[in-house]
Subunit: 254 residues, 2 copies
């Protein structure tokens, strides 16, 4: 695999930092290529603005249009273009982060916001002018996985846990971003009780992470439905005969 | 009301910018106090790091501990303390943002990450040492609402829409942040088809927004379950007799 490892944690001497080192070492020992994007170390700028698109400061910024145009005309800022080059190289994208407010830290959210642009990751059309999404798109053919450290205990992220089931909490990322851009989402690796982890916990989690990473090439992705597989109508609503009478995020799994 | 309006959009001359002006004007005309936090105009720093907590650069950063300590000892950075002052003043918090990757732009995610800290917004205990969450906490008694502009059409965010129902997509924010910190979540205001809005659309949406804002004092919040209302066990899992046999985010509504 060519693995692009996007890492967002402010402290290198953390459980997250140690797991990142373990995971990358495991992949390299097995002969895989890994490129690390350590967003804190890079001092990544997470804030979308007009400068991203090389447009005149006086011109009204329409983010979708501006990003599509800048992508076509090659006027995207250099830091965004560098990330695009890494993404093109990768067949597998790992995003590793502590779960803050049930999502990625702002520095990672802003990597998604600034890098995964209209015309590059999504907003791509086929030869008939049909927009590709959910199972197809600018990043089709790649695989992506979440590795996340969570302060709370596992039960509270279970099917009836108070925070919501982890797959539901990660649905906007795994379905709405990975799958939306065409990437197959592999089941996440979650490390619970991260604030209380001791050496023994670390050893166990490091081993579990190594195994999950080395199994990635054979792992089955989450079975989200394809936009163009016949299950959704022209308004992107599930057709009545599919999961009839049901609602909730669960209906989007095949 | 004392309304703290947190606004995150990179372009003042946008649908979002115009709706923000309309909404604030409507509230002020009705005699309410409004403080605007325009995160882009403020050049808000969204990235959590050791400097937030005034701790020595060589010391290992444990975010939860450091924020709790800095909050107690008054060593939080000045920009965070200023936001705390605004939050204390407010009885109502409006967060307005374009929906990017099914969540807030990084600059707003980083306002949540940096401002809503352990010991201030959550991690608060009662006199028996019991941690308050979900319906109680550091921001108990306040109300909060999302106003969001969305490029897609409404049907695709409906109960069987491909992106997930809007309430499910916003669950991490409305339940996992607003409600978690003790704030009652008012139903969101969503403006769909935002990229294609014409003058007529704006007039309609501006009127709808005004009505929703002026009705806030009487509006019923989303009926999430209380952590300590008896529905959850000591592991924060819904007890078997509550919504028996069911799972999914819907079980957390009373």
């Amino acid at each position: 695999m060519n693995v692009l490892w996007i890492y967002a944690h402010p402290e290198e001497r953390s459980l997250s930092g140690s797991l990142k080192d373990e995971g990358i070492a495991a992949l390299r020992e097995a002969g895989h290529e890994v490129r690390l994007r350590d967003l804190y170390a890079m001092k990544w700028n997470p804030v979308v603005d007009a400068a991203d698109f090389g447009q005149e400061p006086d011109r009204r910024l329409l983010v979708g249009e501006a990003s599509k145009r800048a992508n076509t005309e090659g006027t995207l800022s250099a830091d965004i273009r560098a990330e695009h080059e890494h993404i093109r190289w990768a067949d597998t994208i790992v995003t590793q982060f502590p779960l803050w407010w049930l999502g990625p830290p702002a520095i990672l959210k802003g990597w998604f916001d600034r890098v995964l642009l209209n015309g590059f990751a999504f907003g791509v059309k086929d030869e008939y002018g049909h927009t590709l999404r959910y199972g197809d798109g600018g990043l089709a053919g790649k695989r992506a996985m979440v590795i996340t450290t969570i302060g709370a205990r596992e039960a509270s992220f279970g099917p009836r846990g108070i925070h919501g089931a982890l797959d539901d909490v990660l649905f906007p990322l795994q379905h709405g971003l990975f799958w939306y851009t065409g990437m197959a989402a592999l089941p996440p690796v979650a490390i619970y009780g991260a604030d209380r982890a001791c050496e023994q916990d670390f050893a166990r989690e490091a081993l579990r992470l190594r195994r999950r990473l080395l199994a990635m090439p054979e792992e089955r992705p989450i079975a989200f439905r394809h936009q163009d597989g016949g299950d959704y109508d022209e308004n992107l609503v599930l057709r009545p005969h599919v999961a009839p009478g049901q609602a909730g995020l669960g209906v989007h799994y095949a």
